[in-house]
Amino acid sequence: MSTDPTPSTAAIQVRGLHKHYDDVHAVRGIDFDVHSGEIFSLLGPNGAGKTTTISILSCLLQPSDGDAWVMGHSIRDDSMAVKRAIGVVPQEVALYPDLSARENLTFWGKMYGLRGPALRQRVDEVLEITGLTDRQKGRVDKFSGGMQRRLNIGIGLLPQPQILFLDEPTVGIDPQSRRNILDQVKEFNRQGMTILYTTHYMEEAQELSDHIAIMDQGKLIAYGTHQELVEIVGELDRIRLTINATSDRVLGSWESTEGVRRISAEDGTITLMVDDSNAVLPRLFETAAQADVRITHIEVQEPNLEAVFLHLTGRALRD
């Protein structure tokens, strides 16, 4: 049952959104607003419910409960108006491999209602934006992964949408292509496009976003600007270590070391949240030496979103 949204300038308003499949709860009653003209990131590990949320907002899935309004249109009651306002870039490359780049863009342009000269002009523009003008006649299955990703994004740009949904657009590509995509996203936003971006890369959310919502297990566990979120963990530093022995030989003694607030071990790496890394590090080395354990790698980081996630969930933000 949908209710009218609170009057606001928000491009997207999400209220009490639920999605469950039989016993599996993918999204558990989330609320957030995305303001016009901003980049908003949904950050969380795989399986957190980010893709389900973006699928509901793009009217691909029906919510089990709750509603959302995109440019004032209910996703439940006016899905066509919602679809006309958005461009969607799915997580997977969704292209026709046996068609050329131009043929793909032309077809998808038609699906967005473009025709004739306007369609041809827009296809040319998008080929230019994605840097594929020279390869426009090439079959997509002959493209590199990076080129396919760029074309995948280009299709989302075809309707010149007010809001662009980008679902993990940098998964599985090389660093250079990733850099290009992040720069493009910032450029789209500079041109006035509102962007809803999902990622499990903390650095991407940190670099791009005006606001970030952290999701875990279908729930929104934190929301705010990067600064606001970092303040959640206070002034804690993060120390990441690897040792030449099993972690249980030192974990107990490090946990009780003065200045250590939280400790976790995963895949051979030990992560500690500490008040002051300069003060704590000598104590850690001393305890390790007593246990005849050698520290083989050490990394100190100031508070960031990963620390926030660790602080809130007790788990690292990993794939």
Binding site: S55, L60, M80, P90, E92, A94, D98, L99, E103, I155
Partner: protein
Amino acid sequence: MEHIQRALDIARKDLTRYTRSLFIWAMMIAAPLLIAGLIYFAFSGLGGDGGFSVPATRLHVVNLDQPGGQAAGFAAGTLLLDFLQSEQLSELVQVTVGQDEYSARAAVEALSADVAVIIPQNLTDAVVGSAAGATLTMVQDPTLTIGPGIVKSLLAGFLDGFSGSKIAPQVVVQQLDDRGIELEPQTLQGVALEYAAWATELGRSQGSQEHPLISIQAPPARVARQSTLAKLAGQILAGQLVFFSFFTAASTAQSIITEEEEHTLARLFTTPTARTTILGGKLLAVFLLVLGQAVVLTVVSALVFGVQWGQPLSVALVTLGLVVASSGFGTFLMSFVRSTQQAGPVLGGVLTIMGMAGGLFTTGFESLPGFLDTLSLLVPQGWALRGWKLSLAGAGASELWLPVGVMLAMGALFFALGATTFRRRLA
């Protein structure tokens, strides 16, 4: 209008993709034509001008017949030998003449003859005299079947004439006796001789014209053979056309699953295009592709194999029924398939079994059990084949209402079920 335009855009996109698929071309056009072509050429001697032929049988004949005085110059053994050595039979048998039974057996054992015939001493006596019967002895190479069979048939045909000469006098005596007339033995012998001469002449004249055995060797005129082959090709192609139409329809309906796996279907659902339009466009592509296949196959087979599919309206009606039935069934079948990996075995298995039930692979066989005919009516393939057979036989539109009507009804039902299942699944 916008909905129709977008459905056409989707169909055009799908058709473009199909035309770039070698698999689709192979299964749609090449395979049915190739299969029909192979069968056609196998039956037509690979395009040569002759039918099949057998080598002449080497026949060793020993004539021991000794006509008595009562035969008045008539010698059955000599007649038989002349018959076997006649020009008309020279392509069937190559005759050598021996002196005694020993030479006959020796020729066969030495493999210098395939068959040996020993004409008994009392043959003439059996034909025109008092002897009750005579036995011709045939010795043959036990590894051979066709050659000895031919010789045996030739002998049987010739000796039938002699049997007639025994029966003819008896009939004459009986009929005259009924009228109270008695005949002299010489007169009866004359009747027998006259009959034997007539039968011999008849055998010769038949041999020179259209002897049943010789008809194997000399097939009907070329035009007639082509016509028969064209009919055979029509029957075979009708089966192939129906089978591959259903195969093409199911393969292309599979594109919905392919798009699911390519993630493009989900993306389509995020565009401002209605789901019914998307599904409609995809199914329109299936319909158009099967229609194109049917048109290409019927036209090419008419040009290459000389198949006369029937009256234009009948062909159009059966084609329409086939396209609707196969598209509907393809959609229905694929709506239950979860992945393209699963699609292959399901498609091959179900369509082959239904094709067999529909009689698609036995179109050239005349004497099949009756229950197979009944079974074929349970599947749309059977009705499609029935429609094509009627059209091939020259049936008019009014005679096709039943198979075409059943095809349309089955197609519509399957289509509705398939579309409903897909819509539920993709909701």
